[in-house]
């Protein structure tokens, strides 16, 4: 699936929720289901700043595609990271750099997107794109 297709899929999943409760229950679900990050990556180096809860993000390049793993001590945050990973993991640096994250808005999590939001969704997105940028530079050289 392309990044856009995954985003579409998520949007249609979220469109089924009747109220905020369903939506957050689903996010919590996804937070709990997130694959565990390797414990050795839960270091300050992998910490994303600007979040009220701690978020660790790790990335690897395998056969030209980036895979992300992450963790957080807050479960809703984890749910949101999991969404991001589902969208972006398994794609090439170029694809990730070109993609937008408009689906966040469309699934009604826009308020989490504010640059001043303390749970730092923006910081996560930035960090993912930064990783993609770095891998791209490495490939280009």
């Amino acid at each position: 699936m392309t990044i856009t297709e995954t985003q579409q899929e998520i949007i249609s999943e979220f469109s089924m929720f009747e109220d905020w409760m369903d939506k957050y229950n689903y996010l919590i679900e996804m937070g709990k289901d997130m694959p565990k990050i390797d414990e050795r990556y839960k270091t300050n180096n992998h910490l994303i700043s600007g979040c009220q809860s701690r978020v660790w993000l790790h990335s690897e390049l395998k056969e030209g595609k980036i895979s992300f793993t992450a963790d957080s001590d807050a479960v809703i945050t984890k749910g949101i990271v999991n969404l991001l990973i589902r969208v972006f993991s398994g794609h090439t640096p170029e694809e990730i750099l070109e993609a937008n994250a408009d689906f966040i808005d469309q699934i009604g999590l826009k308020d989490h997107l504010s640059p001043t939001r303390s749970n730092g969704l923006v910081s996560m997105l930035k960090q993912m794109k930064l990783y993609a940028q770095v891998y791209k530079l490495k490939q280009d050289n």
Partner: protein, 410 residues
């Protein structure tokens, strides 16, 4: 002491427009009062009146508006002095807020009081604003920072405090009420102890002025600081109270505007008190708004407001503690309008996010008191903080919202 009836409380509450609004389609339950309080209509009206008919720059102006506004400004200083029972009006220095008051004090004292080898004593529950300024000055001047430790209940360990006093720090800087724990410190007693060693004391009153009567002469503190916005007044205005003898010794910290007397390129002589410490165009509207807030509070019997608020807080504590896994951070014997907690198996920020969706505004995080979080080994807390306009119904909504959030998260 007259007791407030529920009806009287609703009348008082009706005067705060911001409390009467919906958030996510339901009535806002505002429990973030330790961060900032809402403003009564009379405060808003005072600002409007000022900008609509009185606005001008003050001091040194000979024209009518300037005379009037100068008098209003200086009268407000007297009102503030009365409010905390300062001996004279010039002991009230207007600042932007508690943080600036502490920075002013630190910036001035470091020029003559805090030298290499000296020490400053703070407590383990200080807000960053009464911690980082001292810490940084200690780093600059090679002064030592002593910290009075907290008990498991979140109270200052008085025995250890006394031991630290015997190291003769040059200043004690302690909070009156902790914004992170709710603890009311026995400041009067602590000041007496410090004075026995001849040590001056700064009291951070940011959390106390809206909750209890403050009498700086009775406390006998040397310095007292607070913010208007936490006591129903506008943002951007605050106070540094200091005893005259200190203000006379203290060199000014900021320069320019009304704080000078004579200026040549070679030297400058400074104006008398309180102007020496108020550089730049004064924030007249803020000062008049602060006066309006004081007048608002004074319509009521402070002891009754306090008793009412304490009742609300007690109710909240009792109801919250029935939630399984509830852990209060800070269980002091004397508590003001702040309840900080974590719930086992959940993260504070998740609870904050969810109760917000239920229209309940609480704060989560470290509350600018990171060392407190470290001390109690939590990533942060959920903090519900109250003012005398909160109702029993709101407490019930808070508890329901937290219960629901916890059940969703587990």
């Amino acid at each position: 002491m007259t007791k407030f009836t529920a009806g009287e409380m609703l009348e008082l509450r009706a005067q705060f427009p911001a409390l009467h609004q919906n958030v996510y389609g339901k009535p806002l339950v505002y429990l973030d009062n330790a961060a900032t309080t809402q403003k009564p209509q009379s405060v808003i009206d005072r600002i409007v009146a000022y900008y609509s008919h009185e606005n001008t720059n003050i001091h040194r102006g000979v024209h009518y508006l300037s005379q009037q506004a100068t008098e209003a400004y200086e009268n407000a200083r007297k009102t503030v002095a009365d409010f905390i029972n300062a001996a004279v009006a010039h002991e009230i220095i207007f600042t932007r807020g508690t943080t600036e008051s502490v920075n002013l004090l630190a910036g001035s004292l470091k020029q003559f009081l805090l030298q290499e080898g000296d020490s400053v004593l703070i407590s383990g529950m200080e807000h960053h604003s009464n911690l980082v300024p001292w810490q940084q000055i200690c780093l600059q001047n090679k002064t030592k920072l002593l910290v009075a430790e907290l008990t498991n209940k979140g109270e200052i360990d008085l025995e250890q405090f006394k031991q630290l006093l015997s190291q003769k720090p040059k200043l004690v800087a302690i909070t009156h009420i902790s914004n992170a724990l709710g603890t009311i410190n026995p400041v009067k007693e602590m000041i007496r102890l410090a004075h026995d060693f001849g040590i001056p004391v700064l009291v951070d009153g940011a959390q106390s002025v809206a909750h209890t009567t403050v009498d700086v002469q009775d406390l006998d503190c040397d310095f007292f600081v607070f913010s208007g916005h936490k006591m129903f007044a506008p943002m951007g205005i605050g106070v540094l109270y200091a005893k005259t003898e200190w203000l006379e010794k203290m060199p000014p910290w900021q320069f320019g505007g009304e704080m000078v007397d004579q200026v040549s390129f070679e030297e400058t002589t400074f104006n008398q008190l309180p102007f020496k410490f108020e550089a730049g165009t004064p924030y007249v509207a803020g000062v008049l708004g602060l006066e309006a807030a004081i007048k608002f509070i004074r319509q009521y019997d402070m002891k009754s407001l306090e008793a009412y608020e304490n009742g609300i807080v007690r109710q909240a504590l009792e109801m919250l503690q029935t939630i399984p896994g509830m852990r209060f951070i800070g269980e002091p014997i004397h508590r003001a309008g702040v309840i900080s907690f974590v719930v086992d198996g959940t993260h504070p920020s998740d609870i904050g996010t969810l109760v917000d969706k239920m229209s309940v505004a609480v704060r989560t995080g470290h509350h600018c008191a990171q060392p407190v979080m470290t001390r109690f080994d939590v990533p942060g807390t959920v903090r519900a903080s109250f003012a005398f306009y909160n109702t029993e119904e709101e407490v019930e909504k808070l508890v329901k919202a937290v219960e629901k959030a916890v059940s969703m998260l587990r």
